[in-house]
């Protein structure tokens, strides 16, 4: 079984490094990008099993990224693509908004390694079940 490939999008380097250290220790293949354009470019070329992205409230970067992917990809592929959104500041409203726009789950910053891993495992398990069906 090949290692799951995870794309992490965040403009804060320490968050990127933290994710890389925790996820690689668990055997995931991790790719880090710090802006939306890079992420879109990579998503166009390479297959990822999961994307972890910062919403960067109150900027609109995260939402913009979601819109772009949805526009570029076929509907079926888009619907199956697992996205874990993160933010240091969020309200129930913004979380609901994200889920509506395609994010599969939300993880509030700051998080511990255990919290990150359990979120990732949960979302991947869901994806697998989905795939099997």
């Amino acid at each position: 079984m090949r290692a799951k490939r995870i794309l992490v999008v965040d403009d804060d380097k320490i968050v990127l490094i933290s994710c890389k250290r925790v996820l690689e220790a668990e055997g995931y293949q991790v790719v880090l990008v710090s802006n939306v354009e890079e992420a879109l470019e990579l998503l166009g070329r390479i297959h990822f099993d999961l994307m972890i992205m910062d919403i960067k409230m109150p900027d609109r970067d995260g939402l913009y990224l979601l819109e772009k992917i949805k526009k570029n990809w076929p509907l079926e592929k888009w619907e199956e693509f697992p996205i874990l959104a993160t933010s240091g500041y969020s309200t129930l409203d913004t979380i609901n908004n994200l889920i509506e726009r395609g994010a599969k789950d939300f993880l509030a910053k700051p998080f511990t390694p255990d919290e990150l891993l359990s979120s990732v495992k949960k979302i991947l398990r869901k994806g697998e079940n989905h795939g099997k069906r």
Partner: protein
């Protein structure tokens, strides 16, 4: 509005005085005039009686004169006397008694001799003298009274008497229509006395006074009854003797100032008095003026109604009395009106001045000045209004102050919230790094105990930082309310159950006194519960073992926002209380009196935000050493929630 109130006040006062004036004028004049008039009528009736008395006394005088004459020797034996001697005797008597005619007849009534230029004729003739005829026909009766004498009798007696009786009729308005132009008959006062000889009727002595143009009686009436009273150059009292309806003896004057002999009485009076024989007392138009009059019929010796006796007083005198009364009343009314205008003006000014002050004060209030000058306090109801207005102003000021304070508090919270959100967002990224690497380090097996224990301290403190930031975010986050209709007592009860154990452990008495029949209100249960929990836990922390915490619910009115009904939840403790200087900062974020690590200082700030988003308020009462009461007020009606 200002001046019209004053005008209305004055007008109504004016109206009242006018009404009273008119009514009293009407009633007063009527009453007074009627009294005066009644008095006048009574008087005129008495006057008529007096006039009748004088009239009758003249007849009596004639009778007496004749009676005395009949005892005279030469008249007693007239048939044996010389006629010349007799005539001079008769002339003497007539002069003394003022008689117009006087004569002696025999037992058959034939004239034997008489005064006057024409001697009694020798040839037998018809008895023309009605009084003698009456005496002979009614033998034994006293014969005296009024008689009607025709021209032939008068011509026989004395042609000058016929001339005296001849009266030209003067056309008179209101009189009954008549064809004759000249009246030749007349009325006379007459008497006849029998002369006896050896108890046998020997003859009759007769005599009388022709009334035509003889004003002696009417003038005597005027002199004695009316005492010659004069009003505006005219005699007030008048008297008249009518033959039929013709004035034959009067002191009523024509407009030319002559006695109104020959004029006639009005048809109305004639019919009533002469035809029906009634007395008449009323105002009547006499010749040329209105008089208050009395008329009564004159009967002759045969009982026929042959004439009228009249007395009257000028009505003008009484009309003038009425005029005077009316003008006095009008004067009084006018004076009353002037007084009421003045009084109305004064009263209106008195009332309107403070009202005017109030009006300008309220205008100032509407412009935003809550400290207007309302002028000196009035002693009347206006004073009550002024007091009420002042109280209203002070409650407005209080409300204004409260609203300002509330506004300030929520502005403070909002700006702190924005700041906290920004800071939290930025801190959360590095915090992720710190958390991650601390935990990664903790997983390493090659570390000695000392390093491991130090790392645990780092991990714990980082966790604390994370909690503080989370609290900050909770505070700043405008968490949506998930409101649903809620039984407040149930909610409080559920919360009390949660903290029951903690109270028991701390040795505190926890009591819940639910208010009866509270309506359900729409609230976010979990958020409100966290508010309640926060306040209750604070109360526990402030209270020493043995103390008590009492929770009450009930209906209450909002502070500041007048008349808004709602539900109150109060939490009262017997703790150490909150010093005054801390009360103002109680709801500020990060304000805490607890030891470091015991509280974030965000609990009450968050609670305040939640209650505020429900449209409610939190009030605090506290006294150091006695305890505190936190009161949550929530509105009954649904408020727009954000």
């Amino acid at each position: 509005m200002f001046s019209s109130t004053r005008t209305r006040l004055i007008l109504s006062l004016l109206g009242v005085s006018l009404l009273v004036g008119i009514v009293s004028l009407f009633i007063g004049v009527r009453l007074l005039y009627n009294t005066v008039l009644n008095e006048a009528y009574t008087r005129i009736r008495l006057d008529l009686n007096a006039a009748r008395e004088i009239y009758d006394s003249r007849i009596k005088n004639i009778y007496t004169a004749l009676d005395i004459a009949s005892l005279d020797k030469s008249i007693n034996t007239y048939d044996s006397q010389e006629k010349l001697h007799l005539v001079s005797k008769l002339e003497n008597i007539a002069r003394k008694a003022n008689l117009d005619f006087l004569g002696i007849t025999d037992a058959e009534g034939e004239t034997y001799c008489r005064i006057g230029p024409i001697p009694a004729s020798e040839k037998p003739q018809e008895i023309k003298n009605p009084i003698v005829k009456y005496l002979i026909e009614n033998y034994g009766k006293t014969a005296m009274g009024t008689v009607v004498l025709d021209r032939s009798f008068l011509m026989d007696e004395n042609p000058s008497l016929a001339e005296q009786a001849r009266i030209e009729l003067i056309p008179t308005p209101r009189a009954a229509p008549i064809e004759e132009k000249i009246e030749t008959s007349t009325m006379a006062l007459c008497a006849a006395v029998p002369i006896y000889k050896n108890d046998k009727l020997l003859g009759v002595i007769y005599g009388g006074i022709v009334l035509s143009r003889n004003n002696e009686i009417v003038d005597t009436v005027r002199e004695t009854v009316f005492r010659d009273e004069v009003y505006k150059g005219r005699s007030i009292g008048t008297a008249t003797i009518f033959y039929n309806d013709i004035r034959i003896s009067t002191n009523v004057l024509t407009p030319e100032g002559k006695r109104a002999i020959g004029t006639r009485v009005s048809e109305e009076v004639r019919n009533r008095v002469l035809v029906k024989g009634e007395r008449w007392t009323d105002r009547a138009f006499v010749v040329s003026d209105w008089y208050i009059t009395a008329y009564e019929p004159i009967e002759d010796i045969f009982g026929r109604k042959v004439g009228i006796l009249y007395t009257g007083v000028l009505e003008e005198k009484y009309v003038d009395v009425r005029k005077n009364v009316v003008s006095v009343f009008i004067l009084i009314t006018l004076a009353g009106m002037v007084v009421s205008i003045g009084l109305g003006y004064l009263v209106a000014n008195n009332i309107m001045r403070p009202v005017g002050r109030l009006i300008s004060a309220s205008q100032e209030v509407s412009r935003g000045n809550l400290n207007p000058d309302i002028g000196p306090l009035s002693a009347s109801e206006i004073g009550v209004l002024q007091n009420t207005f002042s109280r209203m102003l002070s409650s407005l000021r209080e409300r204004d102050k409260l609203q300002r304070a509330e506004l300030l508090q929520s502005e403070k919270q909002a700006s702190i919230g924005r700041l906290a959100a920004g800071v939290a967002h930025e801190i959360n990224n590095p915090l992720t790094g710190v958390l991650t690497f601390t935990h990664l380090l903790l997983r390493r097996a090659d570390l000695n105990e000392e390093v491991l224990s130090d790392l645990k301290v780092i991990a714990n403190e980082t966790e604390r930082v994370r909690q503080i930031v989370k609290g900050l975010l909770d505070f700043s986050r405008q968490t949506e309310l998930e409101s649903e209709p809620t039984d407040i007592n149930q909610l409080v009860n559920a919360t009390v159950t949660l903290v029951d154990n903690e109270a028991l452990v701390k040795g505190l008495k926890l009591e819940f006194l639910p208010g009866k029949s509270l309506p359900r209100i729409t609230v976010d249960r979990s958020q409100l519960q966290s508010v309640l929990m926060n306040i209750i836990i604070n109360a526990f922390d402030a209270t020493e073992p043995g103390g008590s915490v009492i929770i009450k619910t009930g209906m209450g009115y909002s502070p500041g926002k007048i008349n808004r009904k709602g539900i109150e939840i109060s939490v009262t403790d017997t703790g150490h209380g909150i010093p005054q200087e801390n009360l103002d900062r109680l709801f500020d974020p990060f304000f805490t009196t607890k030891d470091v690590g015991q509280g974030t200082g965000l609990g009450l700030a968050v609670s305040y935000g939640i209650v505020e988003r429900h449209g409610g308020t939190i009030r605090v009462w506290s006294e150091v050493g006695k305890g505190s009461t936190f009161t949550i007020w929530l509105p009954l009606e649904e408020k727009g929630e954000s």
